[in-house]
């Protein structure tokens, strides 16, 4: 069964094949559930002209934000890009392009992309700047806009545990966009907290079946918290 062993030993192997001007789909919501080491590896490789599809773009100095430092990102496809001064600066300078996409539409674009569905109709964004220039169809008297799905040359994903065959489970709300991202990459790389033997994860509890996954690497995670808010006593 060694043909199914997806485990790689180092980050260079994990991101091997990434080239300038590629599209990278990244899981994560804010700084929660992001593939920290794979992002650092992209910075290390110096790959540029990237289109990055991710709900957010990290913060200054952490997460996808570090790829802005050497201007590696040409375009971001995101639903929300606040909390990042360098991002704002590059956007205003015209060095960075951003395609703002409603959060649910973004999730569905990844899901559909991974499922071989090239486009779908949604009411979200109709009559707003998001709907401008897009095909409109009425179903049962309600107008919907056509949104095209997204696939990436690479998908970078953060999971909690994976077995050697690439079957993954996620922990708490660190799941977010990761399962959709995992389906939508030509090469899907998953960075995990723990790698286990096949059979150790309950088969019916697997979130991402290994068929979607090409490479698995064990990472080290800082898990920085963006907004720590505590209960009042």
């Amino acid at each position: 069964m060694s043909g199914f062993n997806k485990v790689v030993d180092n980050y260079w192997e994990a991101m091997d094949g990434l080239q300038d001007n590629m599209t990278v789909i990244a899981g994560g919501f804010g700084l929660c559930g992001i593939p920290e080491g794979l992002i650092t590896q992209i910075k290390e490789m110096g790959t540029s002209g990237l289109t990055v599809v991710s709900n957010n773009c990290g913060v200054d100095g952490f997460g996808l934000g570090i790829l802005l430092e050497d201007r590696q990102i040409k375009k971001m496809v995101s639903s929300y890009v606040g909390e990042n001064a360098l991002f704002e600066q590059q956007l205003l300078n015209g060095e960075l392009e951003v395609e703002l996409t409603p959060q649910g539409t973004l999730a569905e674009k990844m899901r559909a992309g991974g499922a071989g569905i090239p486009a779908f109709f949604t009411a979200t964004g109709y009559g707003t700047p998001v709907g401008e220039g897009k095909e409109v169809r009425e179903f049962d008297g309600r107008p919907y806009i056509m949104e095209e799905s997204i696939t990436g040359d690479f998908a970078i994903v953060k999971a909690w545990k994976a077995d050697k065959y690439g079957n993954c489970i996620y922990r708490h709300t660190a799941q977010n966009f990761n399962p959709m991202a995992a389906t939508a990459g030509k090469i899907t790389v998953v960075e995990v907290e723990e790698i286990v033997e096949p059979g150790e994860l309950e088969a019916s509890q697997i979130h991402t079946p290994g068929i979607y996954v090409d490479r698995v690497i064990k990472g080290q995670f800082e898990k920085r918290i963006e907004r720590q808010v505590l209960a009042k006593n």
């Binding site: 804010g30 929300y80 890009v81 649910g104 999730a107 909690w160 709300t173 977010n176 720590q228």
Partner: protein, 218 residues
């Protein structure tokens, strides 16, 4: 007297029924969770993938893998479920969420809402707002009736880029509760101590004042 933010939230919480699934936006809507009547249960949906959002954590409960849609640390209630973003928005876009409460810059008599973008100012993005207004069964907008300069936010036609069209049916402000239908705002309640005259003055869009307007109960 115009209502405080907490008082607006208190009035919002009176809309909820036992067993409702509710998504609360950032700001005044979030405060509504503090005023849910004790005899009913509602389950809060957080669009990053959590149904059954609980309170903020105590120090020893902090978990970087547990956040809400505002990226704040959070806990889950007993009976909560956690899922991916596509499932989360399937709940929203599929019309399974009973109530969405969100803020706005402007609302107009056609039920259009502008809440995410002011031209000339930095645009951060719409997050999940466009999906929420397109999908929820009942949407309540909470906001102050007028801006800091006294300009009405209740317009005949929105001037800012829209978040959604023909989707707002109910508005709760610091002055009044209104329904949006047939191309007008219908006043249903006024805040205690706020005159109908003041509401008329601060509502730029067409306002209908029926005979049975009542005083808001908090």
């Amino acid at each position: 007297m115009a209502l405080t933010r907490d008082q607006i939230a208190m009035r919002v919480a009176k809309e909820f029924k036992d067993g409702d699934y509710v998504n609360l936006g950032i700001g005044i809507p979030t405060l509504a969770a503090n005023f849910v009547p004790e005899d009913i249960s509602v389950m809060l949906q957080s669009e990053n993938g959590l149904l059954g959002m609980g309170r903020y954590p105590y120090e020893d409960e902090i978990d970087a893998d547990m956040i809400n849609a505002g990226k704040e640390t959070v806990t889950a209630i007993t009976g909560a479920s956690i899922f991916n973003s596509a499932d989360s928005f399937a709940m929203i876009r599929g019309g399974h969420v009973d109530f969405t409460v969100l803020g706005a810059f402007e609302v107009d008599v056609e039920g259009n809402i502008a809440s995410w973008m002011i031209p000339g100012k930095l645009i951060k993005g719409m997050g999940g707002a466009m999906d929420l207004v397109a999908g929820a069964k009942n949407i309540i907008v909470t906001m102050t009736h007028a801006d800091k300069h006294g300009n009405s936010k209740l317009l005949q036609k929105c001037t800012l880029p829209l978040t959604g069209v023909n989707c707002i049916t109910r508005i709760i402000t610091d002055l009044a509760v209104m329904e949006v239908k047939d191309g007008a705002f219908y006043l249903t309640e006024h805040a205690p101590g706020v005159s109908i005259e003041e509401i008329k003055e601060k509502t730029a869009g067409k306002l209908i004042v029926p005979d049975n307007v009542t005083e808001m109960v908090l």
